[in-house]
């Protein structure tokens, strides 16, 4: 009987740990970790290689483009694959940690050809929402861009 209770206790502890694992994250280093992931995203654009950014996007990732078009992960990656950047840069990237989530904001400038084959010359601001997943990996769950009015 003692063993039964021991197993139950172990089960409860395991369940509790799993439920709390998403709450007890973040702290120092989050900003650096997320800033590095933003640089990885930039690198994928610089090299026109969406495979570099694919693992950084959560399955439930939602992108809201500057024109209000909303796309999920698959469509966002397809659009990234069809876009050809000649020049791309991030500026003023800031990351703020909120426990197991982090917000990255910044300016985005790009020139090239967009996914529909039209010339691209854009200056936008972006907000990315990152979440630390149960496996410990940070993934972007939402990205939102807006054009800067001149």
């Amino acid at each position: 009987m003692k063993r039964t209770w021991m197993w139950c206790f172990v089960g409860l502890i395991s369940l509790g740990s799993a439920a709390l694992s998403q709450d007890s994250t973040a702290g120092s280093g989050t900003e650096k970790a997320v800033a590095a992931l933003e640089q990885q995203w930039l690198q994928s654009q610089k090299t026109n290689n969406p495979d570099v950014v694919a693992p950084l996007l959560a399955d439930k990732f939602v992108n809201t483009a500057r024109d209000g078009k909303v796309t999920g992960k698959a469509d966002s990656l397809a659009a990234a694959k069809a876009t050809k950047y000649d020049a791309v840069a991030y500026d003023d990237v800031k990351v703020t940690a909120f426990g197991g989530a982090a917000i990255a904001t910044g300016d985005f400038k790009a020139k090239g050809t967009d996914s529909s084959g039209k010339p691209l010359n854009t200056h936008e601001r972006f907000t990315d929402t990152w979440v630390k997943m149960p496996n410990g990996q940070w993934q972007c769950v939402a990205s939102h861009q807006s054009s800067i009015e001149m």
């Binding site: 809201t64 989530a101 917000i103 939102h144």
Partner: protein
């Protein structure tokens, strides 16, 4: 039933209870955020800075549809600015996605008519808000909107 069998049954039963609690909590969270989202817009319409003071996280950032950033202080100052007047504002197509127990992202369309910082803006924007659970209180960590229609 052996002792090990009994323990296994107990663990499976506990897992089911825990899963049920988590799913129920996520449902509640979604509804709670939808209500808070509406409250947030109602407060904005009334220039209610106290609501924002309570429900915007420290470190909050807003990216508005004309490309400006605003901090929590900027946002509250805007609400307190008597020259900013809201004629109308409606939220539609509100969708909520939960990530664990402490993060929610909402997506919605916001149609408004307002005089903001001396400029008349009547437009439809699409917005993404990030909500975080700060010691039991849901607070907005970020909001970002893009114009889809209007001026």
């Amino acid at each position: 039933m052996t002792t090990r069998g009994t323990a296994l049954v107990a663990i499976v039963a506990l897992s089911c209870v825990a899963l049920s609690i988590i799913l129920h909590a996520q449902g509640d969270t979604g509804q709670q955020i939808k209500e808070l989202q509406q409250q947030s817009r109602d407060a904005q319409m009334k220039n209610d800075a106290s609501w924002a003071q309570q429900h915007l996280a420290d470190g909050f950032v807003a990216g508005n549809s004309w490309g400006d950033w605003e901090t929590k202080d900027d946002f509250i100052k805007d609400l307190q600015n008597k020259n900013n007047k809201w004629k109308s504002g409606n939220i539609s197509e509100l969708q909520v996605a939960t990530f664990g127990s402490n993060t929610v992202v909402s997506h919605y369309t916001f149609t408004y008519d307002a005089e903001l910082r001396g400029t008349h803006r009547a437009r439809t924007v699409i917005c993404s808000d990030t909500w975080i659970n700060d010691s039991g209180t849901w607070k907005t960590a970020a909001t970002h909107c893009s114009m889809v229609k209007g001026k």
